[in-house]
Symmetry: C2
DNA sequence: AGATTTCAACTTGTATACAAGTTATTAAAT
DNA sequence: ATTTAATAACTTGTATACAAGTTGAAATCT
């Protein structure tokens, strides 16, 4: 488990949840690894209560398995969950960008425009980290434009299953292609062209297609045996 | 708050979550109502810990608002949430039944067939409660057939927002129409006819369309003022 | 009477003690 | 040496004590 700095603004519970979630995403808490409420609370410097509540929440999201009186474990990667995450992201992103085409106000478009311009700026500078942040923000803005913020929160939660597989696969997509896709999505929204928007989103998501078979061979101990 | 019987098989935490959730769905815990961890734990006969964990979970689902050191309240009905729930249900149900058309095995179809036959049986008997149970099970079976069980769990959570509005509106759809729709969905799956399946699902969901304007006039205190 | 202060009664947040059950080690018996 | 039994060290589940903050009523002062 890697150290995560506690921010002054957050409660013990928020800190614990964030720290554990990040460790699962990054696989510093490995799939299948045993975790102990006591150990984690000692490591984070908070009591068992906030740690326990965070673990319950991650259990609810199927990221931690709890065996009462026996122990808790980081969930093994379940191929079905990963596939459901990919499936869900696709149908949500398409449906939402179509809504965004109908609903985008000039103000929404201005903000999206600004975001993409920044992405293009940092592309020149080769600043992958900034692009990563702007990427997340860009997709969130589309959900907000379509008045689907709650659904976006849900999307985030289920995407953790995909994120940790992506971490293992070290899958990276060329920033240039990503930023280019975003520019095209913005254009489609401006033109209110749903069909075009849908096509680009599909193409965009296909860039993140990964070979699970390959990954299972490399990290067999991380995957649930069907 | 109405009494919910504790089952011998469930933990204190499971009992508390189920009891509070049911009370919110049925509006026995009214939107806007103040709730206290102490009061609820006394009423349910469990300690604050499991009650608190349940409240945290419902807070995460936007059904309870927590103001630290001040109090917690059943969330007012937020029209945007309700609309997001309706939106989500529609795109999910359509995408999933299309998948089910591709993936249904003879065994899946046999089970769906049995379920619908039972619905038709209880329709004759005028047993609305049984039909309600079978209805829920029918939709879950379609998700399972499409290997989308995780997504179904998520659907349940967000649908609570819609359920409690439906409770207030006393919206009831004639059992005969519901069962008829289910028979048609089953046929579409058997025929692997995605287009037909989609059309029926859309028609089916439209039966539950409700007039929020009307409801806001009747229960203004239950709704969040935009 | 009206404004101000004090304080008691609440709230949730966190820490901790104990309950109940599992597991692995150790010791004893065969 | 092997099996069995006892036990110590863990686990999560639950209850409770206390910390920190809010609120409103009662008491006090002007």
């Amino acid at each position: 488990m890697k150290k995560v700095e506690r921010m002054s603004s957050e409660t013990a519970r928020e800190y614990a949840l964030r720290a554990i979630t990040e460790n699962i995403k990054s696989a510093d808490l490995e799939p299948g690894q045993a975790i102990s409420e006591n150990e984690i609370s000692a490591f984070l410097g908070v009591s068992r209560t906030p740690v326990r509540e965070s673990i319950q929440e991650l259990h609810k999201a199927a990221l931690i398995e709890i065996y009462p009186q026996r122990g808790s474990y980081v969930s093994l990667i379940n191929s079905q969950y990963v596939e459901e995450a990919v499936f869900l992201r696709k149908i949500l992103d398409i449906a939402v960008i179509e809504e965004a085409c109908d609903m985008a106000t000039p103000e929404d478009i201005k903000q999206l425009e600004e975001n993409v311009a920044l992405q293009e700026f940092y592309l020149e500078k080769d600043n992958t980290e900034k692009i990563f942040e702007l990427d997340n923000e860009f997709h969130r803005m589309i959900y907000v434009t379509a008045k689907k913020e709650t659904i976006h929160n849900m999307r985030q939660m289920i995407m953790i299953h995909f994120d940790r597989v992506r971490t293992l696969s070290m899958l990276t997509v060329k920033d240039k292609k990503i930023v280019g896709d975003h520019r095209l999505m913005l254009e489609a929204i401006k033109e209110k062209d749903k069909e075009k928007a849908k096509e680009i989103v599909e193409k965009h998501l296909n860039r993140y297609r990964l070979d699970q078979e390959e990954l299972i061979k490399t990290f067999p101990q991380y995957f649930e045996t069907a």
